[in-house]
């Protein structure tokens, strides 16, 4: 290191470094157009002139970029002479290149106006040579260079011909300060450059050869694209290694093989969206305003390519009319995807609503065959889309999209319900693309030696939905068939359950526990804070004056020690922090660096290793919230950093050690409901070595399963019933109570004590609610009044037992008791049931006319091929509208009933005489029983009476209240395989809890001051986790009603604290005093 002087200020610098670089690093601005940090210095533009002050005050002018730093050098960057010289140079550059934005801006900054000199309006190159240097030094391609001499000098390829050496890296274009047209890669290389497209943005933005895959990637660090990296492919470039101060770039990293001993495998390779290629039609490959739903998703995203503005790609204008075309690449044998992709209907509805929310003028139309809103609460969402957002649904088949080049409109050609061809114009067309197995899925299947189904999805056993064709190998998620987020999450937990069943004996055998030194008792110690300010290389130090922040911190009240580190998160610094804690008897530590969201845990670990409570650590975020976002304002950023440190010190002064509370866990589970779900859960938990108490209110186990015969694919459900009952009965860890109900449930997560109506008392740690649902008892269509009007369940029974006489006509009516007030939800299974029974009828009585009257036929996922089969076999499907529903009439009780329904093709009412009218009766929750149980468990029901999970997408088997889980029909209508998956998932979640010896409640929880509590009960009412209860407690010598916070249930959100009228509750770690101290410190 040497010392030189710039504008009278002494500066430490590396000997030989460029003076321009040193000046810029010290926030001294010198104009330049030819300098780039990644390129050698060249002195082409002559703008970075400075004066060297020589002996006797003589001043020599030279370019600073090519001037190496030397000891004692004295530099002046601003003087009248320099200004004059720079202006002259600038004026020449501006005249030579008058239209470049970069040149004009700099000219303006230097006070140079155009006009004095003759200009060359066609030229856009200032001959700075950055492109030439980039091509040589970065890409090592040497495809372009300077050619000709004097006024003819220009950047060109040898002889102006196509250069085979060009690698189309675009480094020249990137560094060019004027955006010169000379750098036309297509002309230089003779082929069109292709951008590296961002997969995350559905190919709508480009990305670099090194980039973070997407904003919230885990781990959130950049990765090198090895197919595009110049270093890996050509030993060129290497800029990322040069600029990374943390030395994190390692080009040598390679794939490694590792051998692992494992007991089970879960495959979850996911899906790929369908790509509508040229042959598929609809113009996706040629029409810029036809986008896929994945692309539209990114268009709508605030972090997407258009910043969340709804625009169409062709011209960037906001589209008014948007068409969503459903079933692109699904339900379509022409592309061999005969299945339904299950998720696209709701995705389209969601995208239409969001588009409408962004831009009220948008008019979305969704072209559907059926609206498949079969999930929980989905139908209500669709109804809202229609009534609140005015989204139009058109029952139709789309044949093509044709672009009108003149107006930029896109004509959707479709057949409407009556079969007539229609045309409608739209500004933007969104193709709701289906889900396909990825190429990786096939490769993985071959590698694992497991079967795939006819569409290439991983095959799983119909009634063990996670089990593949090979023992010990399980598959979950969309790799086994299209499914929505909640089903995927359920399957993931269920697969974990299946694996854990095999591995239960080995549980915890590979765990090494960390041992920490005993915690130092800091009670009575004066506050001694240590502040460590981080440079983070140049990330913070390049903007914020770190030494000044450190010195400032040292002066603050309570601070015993302050230091600045290059990288505070490095291993060495952790050691140093531990040392300093010991040397300076520190009892609070502040690190002023990056975000606590990423680094708090690391430093808290250091605290624990030093024998300090981790809650005595506070972080000031002076990088993400300061240096990175105020790069142009170093002064403001430094002032802000000081403030943030001061606020952190104020907070730390009041920090107290917080102890986490450990509570024992009773390793047993209570399963309420002995149907398919309950028995499945009970067996899964018992197989993992925990006791289970299974409670069934009926006299026999089995629930609804007793009434079912076969699945759609033909599996015998009665055999499943018998094996499940036998399994439960003979399992040594399961105690079964039939004909019993819950009398009382006391306790909380890990520690329950329940009493059954038969007097049994059971202690347990977890609860699974699997109370099922019941078949709706129809009142409509003459059910119960005419004996030929029956339900699907009854028809199944008839078919199983055999009918006395042949049938000639059967009419089925769908959505009986579902999808209309007061039950505005889809019962999910009835369409498949109807299709199943229709196929069976056709098999038994090929001559019979079987007609299904439906509103939307919802044979989702792999059920769709059965719908196609039914149509092939001659089953007739007729759609009806709710406001034009069928009628069932009959003359005498002995006469066959007649169904009147409007035929959409003819537009007329037709009368169908039927041997049987079969009603697809929906599922309803057992409202009263659920109500009682929900109150006992303190968990919520939805407005249809089904249990309401903690999060409809991400936590589909848990309740907000820890320790209680839900499975099967109690959660909502679903098929038997879905119930099995959910039951396994609930068992999985419960076993995570039960396998812990102790439950550790974290330290930041609410705390009640009994002196202030008025027992108003507001906290109990608002706590979403049921953690607060009003209880009679003994305070001194009196018994008083007070709020009590259960540390095992409290999540530390602080809602109770902020709502307490008496200020009786405070949140440890975020106390009122601490927050007010932070405010006061500002």
């Amino acid at each position: 290191m040497i010392t030189l002087t710039i504008n009278g200020v002494s500066i430490q610098a590396e000997e030989g470094a460029s003076v321009l670089g040193i000046a810029r690093a010290n926030n001294v601005w010198i104009p330049s157009l030819c300098q780039h940090d990644s390129l050698s210095d060249y002195g082409a533009c002559r703008l970075c002139l400075v004066e060297i002050v020589g002996r006797g005050g003589r001043r020599k002018v030279t370019t600073s970029c090519t001037l190496p730093a030397a000891a004692g050098l004295e530099i002046v960057t601003e003087s009248e002479r320099l200004t004059r010289l720079r202006r002259t140079v600038m004026e020449l550059i501006l005249a030579g290149c008058p239209h470049s934005q970069g040149v004009r801006e700099l000219a303006e900054k230097l006070g140079v106006k155009p006009g004095r000199l003759e200009t060359n309006p066609d030229n856009d190159c200032i001959l700075c040579g950055q492109c030439v240097r980039a091509c040589r030094e970065i890409s090592q391609a040497e495809a372009i260079s300077f050619g000709n001499r004097g006024v003819d000098r220009k950047v060109m390829t040898p002889f102006g011909e196509v250069s085979p050496r060009c690698v189309l890296c675009g480094a020249c274009v990137f560094v060019c300060p004027t955006g010169s047209r000379l750098l036309n890669l297509a002309k230089i290389a003779g082929e069109e450059p292709r951008a590296l497209l961002s997969r995350f943005d559905a190919g709508m933005t480009s990305t670099g050869a090194i980039s973070r895959p997407f904003p919230q990637a885990v781990p959130n660090v950049p990765a090198i694209n090895r197919l595009a990296c110049l270093k890996l492919n050509r030993e060129a470039c290497g800029i990322c290694e040069k600029v990374c101060e943390a030395k994190a770039i390692c080009y040598q990293d390679a794939d490694r093989s590792r051998k692992l001993e494992i007991g089970a495998i879960v495959a979850a390779p996911g899906f790929e969206p369908f790509v509508p290629d040229h042959d598929y039609g609809l113009g996706y490959t040629t029409n810029p305003d036809v986008v896929t739903s994945m692309e539209f998703e990114r268009i709508l995203s605030a972090s997407g390519p258009f910043g969340g503005h709804v625009v169409r790609p062709s011209d960037g204008h906001a589209p008014r009319r948007i068409a969503f075309l459903q079933c692109v690449g699904s339900r379509d044998v022409s592309c061999r995807n005969g299945y339904c992709s299950s998720v696209c209907c709701m995705a389209a509805v969601k995208e239409a609503i969001i588009a409408k929310e962004h831009e009220r003028s948008v008019e979305p139309t969704i072209f559907v065959m059926d609206i498949r809103a079969f999930g929980k609460e989905f139908d209500k969402f669709v109804e809202r889309a229609k009534s609140e957002y005015g989204i139009v649904f058109k029952y139709s088949r789309v044949s093509d999209v044709v672009r009108d080049e003149k107006t930029g409109e896109n004509e959707v050609i479709f057949a409407d319900e009556s079969g007539r061809l229609q045309r409608e114009r739209f500004d933007l067309v969104v193709l709701s693309v289906g889900l396909e197995p990825s190429g990786d899925t096939r490769r993985l299947a071959r590698l694992l030696g497991v079967r795939v189904n006819e569409y290439g999805f991983l095959w799983t056993e119909p009634l063990r939905p996670l089990a593949t064709s090979r023992a010990g190998l399980f598959a979950a998620g969309a790799a086994t068939g299209p499914r929505d987020i909640p089903e995927t999450v359920i399957q993931a937990s269920a697969a974990a359950c299946e694996a854990a069943r095999l591995l239960a004996p080995a549980r915890n055998t590979l765990v090494t526990e960390r041992v920490y030194p005993p915690e130092r008792n800091i009670a009575g110690e004066p506050v001694r804070i240590g502040v460590f300010v981080c440079h983070c290389g140049i990330n913070i130090g390049g903007v914020v004056d770190v030494p000044a922040v450190k010195d400032y911190a040292a002066m603050l009240q309570g601070v015993a020690y302050a230091d600045a580190n290059l990288y505070t998160c490095s291993q060495d610094t952790q050691k140093l922090i531990k040392q300093r804690i010991e040397e300076h008897k520190l009892n609070r530590v502040i690190v002023a660096s990056c975000s606590p969201r990423t680094h708090e845990a690391l430093f808290q670990e250091t605290m624990k290793e030093s024998g300090l409570n981790p809650h005595l650590f506070v972080m000031a975020n002076i990088r993400d919230q300061c240096s990175w976002v105020h790069q142009q304002d170093p002064e403001g950023a430094t002032a802000k950093a000081k403030d943030l440190v001061r606020m952190a010190v104020a907070m730390a002064r009041l920090a107290e050690p917080l102890q986490s509370v450990s509570l024992p866990v009773t390793p047993a589970a209570l399963v309420i409901g002995g149907g398919l779900s309950g028995m499945t859960s009970a067996l899964a938990i018992a197989d993992q070595g925990f006791d289970v108490c299974l409670v069934e209110k009926e006299k026999e186990l089995g629930g609804n399963l007793r009434k079912l015969d076969r699945t759609l694919a033909g599996q015998d459900l009665q055999a499943l019933l018998q094996s499940a009952i036998a399994g439960v009965r003979k399992h040594p860890r399961i105690q079964t109570h039939v004909g019993a109900r819950m009398r009382e449930i006391k306790g909380f997560v890990g520690n329950y004590e329940s009493t059954l109506s038969n007097g049994t008392v059971f202690k347990h740690g977890a609860i699974i609610v699997a109370t099922g649902a019941v078949e709706y008892q129809p009142e409509e269509y003459g059910y119960g009044r005419h004996r030929k009007v029956i339900t699907q369940m009854e028809l199944s029974r008839h078919l199983e037992q055999g009918l006395k006489s042949a049938l000639s006509s059967v009419v089925m009516i769908q959505c009986v008791g579902s999808r209309e007030d007061p039950r505005q939800y889809c019962s999910r299974v009835c369409c498949s049931k109807a299709v199943q029974n229709a196929i069976r009828l056709k098999a038994l009585y090929p001559q019979a006319e079987v007609r299904v009257l439906y509103r939307d036929l919802r044979t989702y996922g792999m059920r769709e091929p059965y719908y196609a089969e039914a149509r092939d076999k001659g089953v007739l499907f007729t759609r009806f509208d709710l406001n034009d529903r069928p009628e069932v009439i009959w003359n005498g009780k002995s006469e066959k009933p007649t169904v009147l329904v409007k035929d959409p093709v003819l537009g007329l009412k037709t009368a169908l005489k039927a041997d049987f009218v079969v009603l697809s009766a929906g599922m309803v929750a057992d409202g009263e029983a659920n109500d009682v149980l929900a109150k006992q468990l303190k968990v919520p029901l939805n407005q249809d009476g089904f249990f309401l999970e903690a999060h409809v997408k991400l936590r589909p088997v848990e309740f907000a209240t820890d320790g209680v889980y839900v499975a099967g029909l109690a959660h909502g209508p679903k098929s038997s395989d879905e119930s099995i998956a959910q039951a396994l998932a609930a068992a999985s979640r419960a076993c995570v809890l039960l396998s812990r010896k102790e439950l550790e409640a974290h330290g930041t929880i609410g705390d009640v001051d009994p002196e202030r509590c008025a027992a108003c009960g507001l906290c109990e009412k608002i706590c979403p986790f049921g953690a607060v209860t009003l209880e009679v407690q003994r305070i001194g010598r009196t018994d008083r009603l007070l709020a009590r916070i259960n540390p095992a249930l409290c999540k530390g959100c602080g809602a109770c604290c902020a709502s307490c009228r008496c200020g009786a509750i405070t949140l440890r770690g975020f106390t009122d005093e601490q927050i007010l101290a932070e405010i006061a410190a500002l």
């Binding site: 605030a302 972090s303 969201r597 919230q625 403001g636 606020m647 602080g1054 405010i1079 500002l1082």
Partner: protein, 150 residues
Amino acid sequence: MNNDHPSEFREWQPRILAFLCNWCSYAGADLAGVSRLQYPPNVRIIRVPCSGRVNPAYILKALQDGVDGVLVSGCHPGDCHYLTGNYYARRKFRLLKELLDFVGVEDGRVQFSWVSAAEGAKFSQVMTEVTEKVRALGPNRRLAKRIVKM
């Protein structure tokens, strides 16, 4: 705010306090940082577990202490890590707004927003808007007990 520079050299700068919930808005602030999205350096952030943790008294206290503007930012409706905290926050601020109106605190001094962990750009935009809005309102004089010179 520290007084390294004599007040006459710098034009008046609003002092703004932001309460950000740990799970969404604070993460959005981090994302703005990671993405290097620039915004004015006038806002000081206090991290809270949830926007529902913010007691309206904090806002009044901040205004009394001479802060020129307060922002509370939480998760989007339906996204709360604690299920309903942001709804509680919304209700509280609706009431607080009425109170502030009543005592004559200008509309815009206390603001509420939803910023998700994925919305770095939105965070930077909100910061800029809040700063400019408060700057246009001028120094807070209505409740301030302690007028601090910049």
